[in-house]
């Protein structure tokens, strides 16, 4: 049983209300959320300090221009926040941030995390051609029904971690028939309860995990299986990977937008991977030909090994890939395998150490011969 604050406004308006309250009551110094930043109705994450500016905030807008985890890390990389700041983020973004914090790429101090039961986000191209605005009604319908929203990112359709693990407040969306009339804010922490003291709206108690949620969960599991089948990821051997990644243009964009790829300079961009004359001369001797720039697949495999244990399956990589490679699907699969191996859910809790940083006597028995 958790405490709930109910505001009789539609979910987004209610959330805006909450944010305005927090700012005006000086409970927080700033609010981090999505915002419509101009007439082209471009939507971007923003740091808002003036409650006036909240009128353009779109905290629930189904778009992920960047993984917020990456931005929050950028924000707190050098120092932790000195004053409370509320951040409205999706579960996978919150998990990504926590993974980064574990790697000392940011700090949770003074953050108040507001998240939602996440219906998923649309691919970026829908926002560039403006279609996203037309799709909003359909989106809201599916949310009420607790269905998988059509046309959202493939990995969103297959996402099982759509309930935030460590948010201070959670806006209940999925399966809520009245999201257009009321906004249910689950107060998961004392911090949360303190913050909303004095805010109008009725307090009640309730469960976040409704049957709709459970339904959606299994729907998504099904969807995932289909997704993996599509590119029959299971049977992708090395040759399969070479085939799939064959059209990679080596822009490393996937790494640049990946919240887990936090390196200042990616090893594959470093001098160590420069191609010495000797390298391709021997290659030519062996094979009579060589693809340049080299390391196309190697890069993907390398990233896979570095990232998979912490991959939160946000889908940014696929979304930006100029060559339309289903990267996130592959990473989701491999990630799942690796994470199960350590029964580790990336970003679930900040206390849980990253598997590769701790050593246990009894591990990998299965891989020993």
């Amino acid at each position: 049983m958790a405490n709930i604050l109910k505001i009789s406004k539609n979910a987004e308006e209610g959330l805006r209300e909450l944010l305005r309250f927090l700012l005006e009551k000086k409970r927080v110094k700033a609010v981090f959320t999505l915002r419509k930043i101009n007439e082209n109705s471009a939507v971007s994450y923003s740091l808002i300090t003036d409650s006036e500016m909240l009128k353009d905030a779109l905290p629930l807008f189904p778009l992920m221009p960047q993984n917020a985890g990456k931005l929050l890390s950028r924000l707190t990389l050098k120092e932790h926040l000195l004053e409370p700041t509320a951040a409205v983020v999706r579960p996978c973004e919150l998990r990504a941030f926590i993974e980064l914090v574990k790697r000392k790429q940011g700090s949770l101090d003074n953050f108040i995390f507001i998240s939602t039961t996440c219906p998923g986000t649309y691919p970026l191209e829908l926002s560039t051609n403006g279609d996203i605005w037309k799709k909003l009604p359909e989106y809201e319908m599916c949310v009420k029904e607790g269905d998988i929203v059509p046309d959202i990112r493939p990995v969103c359709q297959a996402c099982e971690h759509f309930i935030p693990y460590s948010a201070d407040m959670t806006i209940a969306l999925i399966g809520k028939k009245d999201v257009d009339k009321s906004c249910e804010i689950f107060l998961n922490t004392e911090k949360a309860e303190k913050l909303i003291e004095g805010m109008d709206g009725e307090l009640s108690e309730g469960e976040l995990e409704t049957k709709e949620i459970k339904k959606l969960h299994s729907k998504r599991q099904e969807k995932k299986k289909e997704l993996f089948k599509e590119i029959n990821v299971e049977s992708l051997g090395l040759s399969g990977l070479i085939e799939t990644f064959g059209r990679c243009i080596g822009c490393h964009g996937c790494g640049r937008v990946c919240p887990i790829c936090y390196c200042v300079l990616c090893d594959f961009d470093s001098r160590d991977y420069e191609c010495e004359p000797s390298t391709y001369e021997s290659e030519l001797k062996k094979r009579g030909g060589m693809r340049v720039p080299p390391n196309t697949v190697l890069y993907q495999l390398g990233r896979l090994t570095h990232v998979s244990v912490s991959c939160v399956g946000c889908g940014m990589c696929t979304d930006v890939c100029p060559a339309d490679i289903p990267i996130s699907t592959i990473f989701l699969k491999v990630g799942e395998e690796v994470q199960n191996l350590f029964n580790y859910i990336p970003g679930k809790s900040v206390e849980e150490a990253i598997p590769l940083t701790k050593y246990e006597k009894e591990e990998f028995a299965e891989v020993e011969d």
Partner: protein
């Protein structure tokens, strides 16, 4: 260790105190993080001001220091010295200019105070990022390599050589003395050259501190001020490695080739000679026409190639006068005509020399569009009249130009050439014999056309620069605020090499990265500014330091 920043605000008498509410500044600043102490003083640069500063640095155990006073041009050095005396690394100090950039230019006291506060805040925001840069010392070899055994090279060597300083003199021909050996006399004194040259050469050859290499050539020079390694190919074709602290380039000049201007008829007609050819004829005592007869009428043509080269060669006018004297001395009634454009006789002696020569019955004709035909010269007078002048011998005075191997040498020594191809001095006014490469000097006609006296001056000047900067046993203290290039980030585009004026950056061909030679670097920051990826950065002026300062100033 706990940081403790000291902030000192100088009243500079009324200069700052009257226009800035210092107490207000102190109020704001005191509350800022890790500020240990904030104080004001009547005049920090005064003797007791400095004493006070030194004491408080030590008493309060300050780890960093911010002083708000006058322009760094004025007193940065002063206060850095105080830091050193107080045992605080002088680079952990920041001087804030609230006089020239604040008190003196902002009428309204309130605004001035606000500005001053901003500046101090900015400094406080910057100073935590300061690094304690350390002074370094490097050994310095006093020995000298002199390239070129003409009068300039000789003079330089003689002045420099001593028990505590070896000189290596490299001459490409088989003898010392250069072109001067072929001059019988010298203008304007008409003393015999031997008197000047012979004993100097003797002294060089006898000095145990000068090693002369004739028929020799410098193959390569690497290194930097105080630590050059030169490879010299000797007459015996062996390659010697010589360690020196400085290099002097005194490679002299070549003559402009008159065949480039057909109208002068050089090599077309008999009895048309260049000045050097004539000097030789005169030295050998036979000034004769091809037909064996002595000349009766001679024309000396000035400014041959001046237009083509684009400068006045400075010496032609005066040696033409000398030639006239040679001729008058040998053939009293020979007719000598000087065809000139502008008579250049600068300085206190040459005008007289000219007038006396003229008085000997030498003609001076201002002429343009000179054309030499068989035994006759066509030209235009000042008032555009065509004239013919019958002569049986013509002496051309070709322009002085850089010696043919100048560019090769410039490349080897990494020193620049000016647009005319002469070696470029460090500063046209204040650095006449220095180059952009510390420790490499230029003298004589290698730097530009000049007469013997001026060449000697430059030779002595080089000696002056070397003797005063490279002292046996004394170490060099290179600049501490140098730039550095991140090996990880540098991608080897070598833009920095192009913009470095001090030859302080070299390219590591194996790692394919640019590397800063911290001894040569003067910390101008050109490389940092031009590096697109920020691989190059300037210590004490890093992007972060500047950013922090600016952001706070704008806050």
């Amino acid at each position: 260790m706990e940081e403790k920043i000291g902030v000192y605000i100088c009243e500079c008498g009324p200069n700052i105190a009257e226009n800035v509410d210092i107490d207000k500044v102190i109020n704001v600043v005191s509350s800022l993080p890790s500020v240990g102490i904030v104080e004001r003083h009547k005049l920090l640069c005064s003797e007791d001001g400095k004493k006070f500063l030194k004491q408080s640095i030590q008493e309060h155990g300050l780890t960093r220091l911010v002083i708000a006073a006058c322009s760094p041009k004025q007193h940065e050095a002063t206060f850095m010295k105080v830091c050193e005396e107080a045992g605080l690394n002088p680079h952990l100090f920041q001087l804030v200019n609230i006089r020239e950039q604040c008190a003196w230019i902002i009428e309204d006291k309130e605004r001035a105070t606000d500005r001053a506060t901003r500046y101090v805040r900015a400094a406080l925001r910057r100073i935590p990022y300061h690094q304690p840069l350390e002074k370094r010392e490097i050994d310095c070899n006093p020995d000298v390599l002199v390239i070129g055994g003409g009068i300039t090279g000789i003079e330089t060597s003689l002045l420099l050589a001593g028990p505590d300083r070896k000189v290596y003199l490299v001459e490409k021909t088989s003898f010392l003395g250069g072109k001067l050996r072929e001059f019988e006399k010298l203008a304007p004194g008409m003393e015999s050259t031997d008197k000047l040259l012979k004993h100097k050469i003797k002294n060089v050859e006898e000095s145990e501190n000068i090693k002369v290499f004739t028929n020799a050539e410098v193959k390569g020079v690497i290194g930097f001020l105080g630590n050059f390694i030169a490879v010299v190919k000797t007459g015996e074709n062996e390659e010697l490695e010589i360690k020196v602290g400085s290099v002097v380039v005194a490679t002299g000049f070549d003559l402009f080739d008159p065949t480039k201007i057909p109208r002068y008829g050089y090599s077309k007609f008999d009895d048309v000679y260049t000045s050097l050819e004539f000097e030789k004829m005169n030295l050998n005592g036979k000034i004769l026409l091809k037909n064996g007869q002595p000349p009766k009428s001679i024309a000396i043509i000035h400014c041959v190639g001046r237009e083509e080269r684009g400068y006045c060669s400075a010496v032609c006018c005066s040696y033409s006068l000398k030639f006239a004297r040679y001729l008058k001395a040998r053939f009293p009634d020979v007719k000598v005509s000087n065809l000139y454009t502008e008579l250049s006789v600068p300085g206190k002696v040459y005008q007289k020399f000219y007038e006396e020569t003229k008085a000997m019955g030498v003609d001076f004709i201002r002429a343009r569009e000179i054309e030499i035909k068989e035994k006759v010269i066509k030209y235009l007078t000042e008032d555009e009249k065509e004239q013919n002048l019958a002569v049986d011998m013509v002496i051309l005075t070709p322009a002085i130009q850089p010696s043919s191997d100048a560019s090769k040498l410039a490349e080897m020594l990494k020193i620049s050439q000016d647009e005319k191809g002469f070696f470029a001095e460090e500063h046209e006014k204040l650095g006449p014999v220095s180059t952009s490469m510390e420790g490499i000097f230029i003298a004589g006609c290698a730097q530009g056309p000049r007469n013997i006296a001026d060449s000697i001056i430059q030779a002595e000047a080089v000696a002056g620069k070397i003797l005063s900067s490279i002292i046996p046993g004394k170490k060099l203290e290179p600049e501490a605020r140098t730039s550095e290039i991140s090996e990880a980030l540098c991608i080897g585009c070598q833009t920095c090499l192009e913009v470095c004026a001090y030859g302080a950056i070299y390219f590591d061909e194996i790692k394919r990265v640019s590397v800063v030679n911290e001894i040569l670097c003067r910390g101008c920051g050109n490389c940092a500014a031009s590096c697109p990826s920020g691989a190059a950065s300037l210590k004490h002026f890093t992007a972060t330091q500047i950013h922090q300062e600016v952001v706070e100033a704008l806050r």
